[in-house]
C-alpha cells in the first residue's frame, strides 16, 4: 500500500527557474510545464474577495458574479454574456472540457491577508487563476504574488493607475478602468456642465489610489482651464470629515472634488451636503461637488446626498446594450437585484480568462497571456474593448454618471449622463502617470 513516489508536481519547485520555464531542461520540467496544471476532469479557479471589513458587501457581490460565471461556463443557467460575447470559443462545457470548480478566500482588504489567502488557494487548492478584490493595494499585492508564483491574476475592482502602471505584471490583467480614464472621461462633461472657469478644491484619501486619482483629475481639469485651489489629504481612517470640509467654502473654490472611495466617500459626501455646500453660491456660480469614482453600492450609503452629483463608473446595470441586459437578467433572476460594477468586472474577467484558455488551447499562463494580449472583443457590456498588450489594461468606453433625482427603486441611484468613447480615454503606455514599472515576462511557475 505504501507506494512511495514523487508526484508529478513534486519536482523541486525552484522559483529561481521560474520565469525561464521554457528554457528548462526537459528532465526538470513537469510534463505540463506550468504550475497547478489541472490533471483530473476539473480545473480550479480562486476567487479572492473581501468577506470581512468595510468592503464585505462589494466582495459578496463579486462572489455572486463569480458563481454565476462558473455556472455559465459549465453550461448551467441561461448562459448570460456567453451568448453575447464576440468570441465564440467557449462551449458551455467548462474550460477546455474540464469542469470549472472554484475556491474562495477572504482578502480582508489587507495586502497581507489577501496574499495569504491567495497563496493558500495556489498552494493548497491548486488554483490556476486568482481573481477578485476591491482595492488597489490588494490588487497590486496579489498581482505581484501571482507573477512570482506563476498563475494568472484577473484583477477585480482596482482603479489606481499603478495596477497597470508602475506595478504592472505580465501575469496580471485589469478589466476595470483607472483613475486616468475617469479623469479623461469626466473632464469634458464637467466643462460642458460647469464651464471652464472653475476653481477646484480636492479632498484626497491619503493613500496610493487617492494620490493617483487626485493627480489624474487635477491634470485633466487644469488642461481645460480649471484652477486647482487646494489639494488636501485626509487620513484613511477618518470618519468625520467636517474639519476638512468646513474651510472649503471660504477658500474661493466653487467645486469640491472628493477623491474618496467606499466609507470615506459616503462620509465625506454626506458631510459636505450637511454643510449645505450645494445650496451655496460662490464666485457667482452654484457650488458643485464631484465624486470621480462612483460605485452604486457605495452611493447607496450616501442616500439622497448623491442626487445630482457627477462621477464616473465602469459599468452600470441600466445600460441598454444586449450584453449588459443579458447579464443583468441572469444575475437579477438568480439573486433578485441588479449586479454592481464590481460584479460585472469579475464576471467579465472570468469569461475572458476562460475564453483565453480555450483559444490558447492550454491553461499554461504563458499561453493565456499570449491569448489575452492585444485581444479585441465585444459583447461584455462596455462595447468594443481592447486588452492592450503593453500594459494589460482594458480600453473601453467610460460611463459618466450622475446621482438620480427621482430614483424609482433602491437600485436606481445613478443615471448615465454620457458614454465617453474609448478613443477619448486612451493614453500611451509610457504616459508619465503610468511610467516606471516593467511588465516582465510571463511566469508559468514551474
Amino acid at each position: 500500500m505504501s507506494k512511495f513516489h514523487v508526484s508529478r508536481r513534486g519536482v523541486l519547485r525552484t522559483g529561481a527557474l521560474a520565469g525561464a520555464g521554457l528554457a528548462l531542461p526537459t528532465y526538470l520540467r513537469a510534463d505540463t510545464g506550468y504550475l497547478n496544471a489541472p490533471t483530473g476532469s476539473s480545473v480550479t479557479l480562486g476567487f479572492n474577495v473581501p468577506q470581512t471589513g468595510p468592503y464585505a458587501d462589494e466582495g459578496a457581490d463579486e462572489l455572486r458574479a463569480f458563481e454565476l460565471a462558473v455556472e455559465h461556463l459549465n453550461g448551467e443557467g441561461d448562459g448570460g454574456m456567453l451568448n453575447t460575447f464576440s468570441s465564440k470559443a467557449l462551449q458551455g462545457n467548462g474550460i477546455l472540457g474540464k469542469k470549472v470548480e472554484f475556491v474562495t478566500g477572504d482578502t480582508q482588504t489587507k495586502s497581507d491577508a489577501a496574499r495569504a489567502s491567495a497563496k493558500s488557494m495556489i498552494e493548497k487548492d491548486g488554483a490556476i487563476m486568482i481573481s477578485g478584490g476591491s482595492s488597489s493595494g490588494v490588487a497590486v499585492a496579489v498581482q505581484g504574488l501571482c507573477q512570482d508564483a506563476g498563475v494568472i491574476f484577473m484583477a477585480g475592482l482596482t482603479h489606481s493607475n499603478d495596477t497597470t502602471g508602475k506595478d504592472k505584471k505580465a501575469n496580471g490583467f485589469r478589466h476595470f478602468f483607472n483613475a486616468y480614464m475617469s479623469a479623461a472621461a469626466l473632464a469634458p462633461v464637467l466643462q460642458k456642465l460647469y464651464g471652464s472657469d472653475r476653481k477646484a478644491y480636492h479632498l484626497t484619501a491619503d493613500y496610493t489610489w487617492g494620490w493617483t486619482q487626485e493627480e489624474s483629475i487635477a491634470a485633466a481639469t487644469e488642461a481645460m482651464g480649471w484652477e486647482t485651489v487646494n489639494k488636501v489629504r485626509t487620513p484613511l481612517a477618518a470618519t468625520d470629515f467636517s474639519s476638512y470640509i468646513a474651510p472649503v467654502l471660504n477658500s474661493g473654490a466653487d467645486v469640491l472634488v472628493l477623491n474618496h472611495y467606499g466609507g470615506n466617500m459616503v462620509n465625506s459626501l454626506t458631510n459636505a451636503v450637511q454643510f449645505g455646500l450645494r445650496e451655496k453660491q460662490v464666485n457667482g456660480k452654484n457650488f458643485e461637488i464631484v465624486v470621480p469614482l462612483y460605485s452604486r453600492l457605495m452611493a447607496k450609503g450616501a442616500g439622497e446626498n448623491v442626487k445630482g452629483i457627477l462621477g464616473s463608473t465602469n459599468w452600470h446595470w441600466s445600460l441598454q446594450d444586449e450584453a449588459s441586459q443579458a447579464f443583468v437578467k441572469s444575475f437579477g433572476t438568480k439573486y433578485g437585484f441588479p449586479p454592481s460594477q464590481a460584479a460585472h468586472t469579475c464576471y467579465a474577467q472570468t469569461l475572458l480568462y476562460a475564453d483565453a484558455c480555450e483559444r490558447a488551447g492550454t491553461f499554461n499562463p504563458c499561453g493565456v497571456v499570449e491569448a489575452l494580449e492585444g485581444f479585441e472583443f465585444d459583447g461584455l457590456g462596455n462595447g468594443p474593448t481592447l486588452y492592450r498588450a503593453a500594459d494589460h489594461q482594458c480600453f473601453k468606453d467610460v460611463l459618466v454618471v450622475k446621482g438620480k433625482d427621482n430614483p424609482t427603486s433602491e437600485f436606481d441611484l445613478l443615471e448615465v449622463v454620457e458614454v465617453t468613447p474609448r478613443a477619448q480615454v486612451e493614453y500611451a503606455p509610457d504616459h508619465p502617470m503610468f511610467a516606471g514599472g516593467e511588465l516582465g515576462s510571463c511566469n508559468p511557475g514551474a
Binding site: Y55, D206, S243, V266, T270, Q274, L297, K300, G301
Partner: protein, 343 residues
C-alpha cells in the same frame, strides 16, 4: 480668525462624540472596574436602533405599477409605507422624516435590556478577573455583536438622514461680523453638541444629586467600603451598566445623520475612545469629558491646511502624539486618581 472659530466648532462636535463614549466607558470602569472593549459595539447598536426605526417606519405594502419597469423589465413594485396610508401621505412622510429623533424612544429600552443582559450574562463573571481577561472577553463580544449586525444589515453604510428641519447649515460668520460663508455650521451638528451637553449634564446631575448617584460615586472612590456598608451593590452595578449602555446607545442614534452607520463604526471609535479615557485619567468622569473635547478640538486644528502645510500628516497622528505628551507629563492623565489601573 474665522478659520480658528470654525475649527473650534468642529472640535466641539468631534469632542462631543468622543466625550459621550468616553463617559460611558469611564462609568463602567469606575464603578464596575471592568475594561469594556464592547463599549464601541454598544454605540454601534444604538446607531442601528436608528436604522431599525427607519426600517420600521418604512414598512410598506407593495403595489404593482404597470407603467414602469424594474431592472428585469417586470412591472415596478411600488412601496407605500403603512404610516403613510394610516396617517395620510404628508403626516406619514413627516413621521418617517423624524425617524432618527424618534429612534431615541426605541434605543433607550433596547439599550437598557442589552446592558442588563450583557452585565448579568457575561460581565459580572469578570469583576474579579484580570483586566487582560476582561479585554479579551469583551473584545470577543464586540466581534460577535458586530458580526450579528453585519449579518442583518450588511457591511455598507446605511443612510439615516436628519429631519428636513435640521438640514443645511447656519451662518455664524454673518452673526459675528465676518464675511458670509466664512463660518457655516450644520444645524444637526449643533443639535448633536447640545444633546451631548444635556446628556453629560444629566449624568453628572444624576450622580451628584440622587442617593443612587451618591452610592455610585462612593463606590467609584472606594468599592470595598461601600460593599461593606451592606448596600446591594450588585443591583446597582447592573443598573450602572444599563445606564452606560443607554448613554452610548443614544449617542449612537444621534450620530447617525452625521455619518451613515455601518457595522464596524464601534471598532473605529473604540481605540480613540480608550485613548480619550486614559488621557482623561482612568476612572475620572470630568477627565473623560475634558479629554474628549480637548482631543476633538486639537484634531480639528491639526486638520487645518495652514498647519498641515508645515507638518504634513500631523492630522493622522495628532491624537496619539497628544496622548503621549500628556501621559509623559501627567503620569495619570489629566485627572486620574492614583493607583487605578497602574499595576
Amino acid at each position: 480668525m474665522d478659520a480658528i472659530i470654525l475649527q473650534i466648532l468642529n472640535g466641539l462636535d468631534k469632542g462631543s462624540a468622543y466625550a459621550l463614549i468616553a463617559l460611558g466607558l469611564t462609568l463602567i470602569f469606575g464603578t464596575l472596574g471592568v475594561v469594556n472593549f464592547a463599549h464601541g459595539a454598544l454605540f454601534m447598536i444604538g446607531a442601528f436602533c436608528a436604522v431599525s426605526m427607519q426600517r420600521l417606519l418604512n414598512l410598506s405594502y407593495i403595489t404593482l405599477d404597470e407603467t414602469q419597469k424594474d431592472f428585469l423589465g417586470n412591472p415596478l413594485k411600488v412601496k407605500t409605507p403603512y404610516v403613510e396610508s394610516w396617517f395620510g401621505p404628508d403626516m406619514g412622510a413627516a413621521i418617517i422624516d423624524w425617524s432618527v429623533p424618534l429612534a431615541i424612544l426605541l434605543a433607550i429600552p433596547v439599550m437598557i435590556v442589552v446592558g442588563i443582559v450583557m452585565e448579568r450574562g457575561l460581565i459580572k463573571h469578570f469583576y474579579k478577573r484580570p483586566h487582560a481577561d476582561q479585554i479579551l472577553v469583551t473584545f470577543g463580544l464586540a466581534i460577535v455583536l458586530q458580526e450579528i449586525i453585519k449579518h442583518y444589515y450588511g457591511a455598507n453604510p446605511i443612510p439615516t438622514p436628519a429631519p428636513d428641519a435640521f438640514k443645511g447649515s447656519f451662518d455664524f460668520g454673518v452673526m459675528l461680523g465676518f464675511d458670509p460663508n466664512a463660518i457655516i455650521y450644520p444645524y444637526w451638528r449643533m443639535v448633536y453638541f447640545a444633546f451631548a451637553v444635556v446628556i453629560i449634564g444629566a449624568v453628572f446631575a444624576f450622580l451628584q444629586f440622587t442617593t443612587f448617584g451618591m452610592v455610585v460615586r462612593a463606590g467609584m472612590a472606594d468599592r470595598e467600603t461601600v460593599g461593606l456598608l451592606g448596600i446591594n451593590i450588585n443591583r446597582r452595578f447592573t443598573l450602572m451598566f444599563a445606564l452606560a449602555a443607554a448613554v452610548a446607545g443614544m449617542a449612537g442614534v444621534m450620530y447617525t445623520p452625521i455619518n451613515s452607520p455601518n457595522y464596524h463604526m464601534g471598532m473605529d471609535f473604540l481605540v480613540l475612545s480608550f485613548v480619550v479615557v486614559v488621557v482623561g485619567g482612568m476612572g475620572s468622569l470630568p477627565g473623560a469629558v475634558l479629554a474628549g473635547f480637548m482631543l476633538g478640538i486639537l484634531e480639528a486644528f491639526a486638520s487645518m491646511n495652514q498647519i498641515k502645510s508645515i507638518l504634513p500628516g500631523i492630522d493622522q497622528i495628532i491624537i496619539y502624539l497628544v496622548a503621549i505628551v500628556i501621559l509623559l507629563t501627567r503620569p495619570r492623565g489629566l485627572m486620574g486618581r492614583k493607583g487605578v489601573m497602574e499595576e
